[in-house]
Amino acid sequence: MSFDPALVRKDFPIFQTTMRGKPLTYLDTAASAQKPQAVIDAISRFYANDYANIHRGVYELSATATRLHEQAREKVRAFLGAAESREIIFVRNATEAINLVAWTYGRSQVNEGDEVVVTALEHHANLVPWQMLCKEKNATLRIAPVDASGTLDLEAFAGLLGDRTRIVACTHVSNAIGTHVPVEEITRLAHAKGIPVLIDGAQAAPRFVVDVQAIDADFYAFSGHKLYGPTGIGAVYVRGEILDEMPPYQTGGGMIERVTFEETTFAPPPERFEAGTPDIAGAIGLGAAIDYLEAIGLDRIERHEAELLAYGTECLEAIPEVRIIGTAARKTGVLSFVVDGVHPHDVGTILDGEGVAVRAGHHCAQPLMNLFQVPATARASLGIYNDREDIDRLAAALHKCVELFH
């Protein structure tokens, strides 16, 4: 069964506003999703009624805040299909999630002469931390290539896995061109050689059911703000056995067991990785976003976006001046394109003039843009509130763009 995006849109107050006098056509959910009233309410309710710092408070309000915070962790656990809630570490966003893994697990495992494997599809967030780590350790970063359609070359990927490979970091869905990577295959190939795998799920988690145990991921990172939740909160799943070996990330309050002037012992996970007062309201807002998405159903969201992506692809292919960048057989949620003779930033401005919000730029994937020999693309990305009319408005605005420049 499908659902009605027009009804979903009513849950999002932003759609009551207009852009340049036109209804808002929001096609930038891959950058950040809009927020449903349920999320906004959960955050203000918490601040209005239940706010206090968590942990160690002897009074009732602190106990309530702690309970709500830990309930949110439990919601994330269930959402990702993790076995235990201690495997869920709250962070600011997927970027911090990956940095946490790189600078704790990565730093403890990668040594001189070792190798780290990533793919050509990565967002800078899943490339630069590994590049930095490899530079620090005199290790080598290997890049698994993609073909002309933007599909990951699995054979070449498998060929990069060797005795010195210490970790594989791979996106689940490319934010720049939408390629949906068969991550189960990635973990199977890597685990056959005893190599752990980090999956960047920033684009995947809001779009279809993610089951970290079925994927057999060792680490899974995502951001709350792309999941229709607030900014400033995200989470990383870390497989239990690895979790216990990982050295701390940031240190300070909340992550300790016992401290003297000479020595500190650390709290067990997940607190060990959550130094300082966390984004309590953010975690609660994220929990509310998960409740909201699950009430709709991730399966229905996946079908809806797949249908819309197919329609969008068809509409864009019908415009001769438009070339879609990234044509993998399996894509999710993202339509990247260039318009012949029109720079992506001009495309973005012209679409903005029509109330259509898309992103124009390198999408934090400059090496991938270089592979496709474009400086930038315009990118339309889908969310649960989009419908065919949004795509029609995009296509109409693109026609205007072509008309203006040709």
Binding site: D346, T349, D352, G353, G361, Q366, K400, L404, F405
Partner: protein, 150 residues
């Protein structure tokens, strides 16, 4: 569409399609690279100054959006043959124009043909595009360092 027509004036579209002085200068006396890391626009501006500080010749190369390309192209035409003091004054006038309040009448005094960029005022995100070449020219004649707008 009216605001867009205002931004993408025929002159701007023409300079975007056929940029003037789009070439490397040999010899040049000053040059600098400019880039906008946010959108990937890149421009190199080369100038040949005479002994008394007049722009004898100027050329640019690079890639960017219509606004930045047309701005660079029209800048080269506007400054060629002018003493540096006039170039700096023109940049100030141009900068004031594209950053002025869009609800007020634009002050077009002394900007000449560059008045076609008045539409940029409606699109604050594009001011950096319009001024990139100018910042780069300024860097070239002052210290040759890379100019950045973002």
């Amino acid at each position: 569409m009216s605001e867009l027509r205002e931004l993408y004036q025929t002159t701007i579209l023409d300079h975007n399609k056929q940029p003037r002085n789009f070439r490397s200068l040999d010899p040049s006396s000053h040059e600098a690279d400019g880039h906008n890391p946010l959108c990937g626009d890149q421009v190199t501006v080369q100038v040949r100054l005479s002994a008394d500080g007049t722009v004898e010749d100027i050329g640019f190369q690079g890639s960017g959006c219509a606004i930045s390309t047309a701005s660079a192209s029209m800048m080269t035409e506007a400054v060629k043959g002018k003493p540096l003091a006039d170039v700096h004054a023109l940049f100030d006038r141009f900068h004031d124009l594209v950053t002025s309040d869009p609800t007020e009448e634009p002050d077009l005094d002394g900007v000449g043909k560059l008045m076609v960029f008045a539409g940029v005022r409606e699109f604050p995100m594009r001011v950096k595009c319009a001024t990139l070449a100018w910042h780069t020219l300024k860097s070239a004649v002052e210290d040759g360092r890379t100019a950045r707008t973002e």
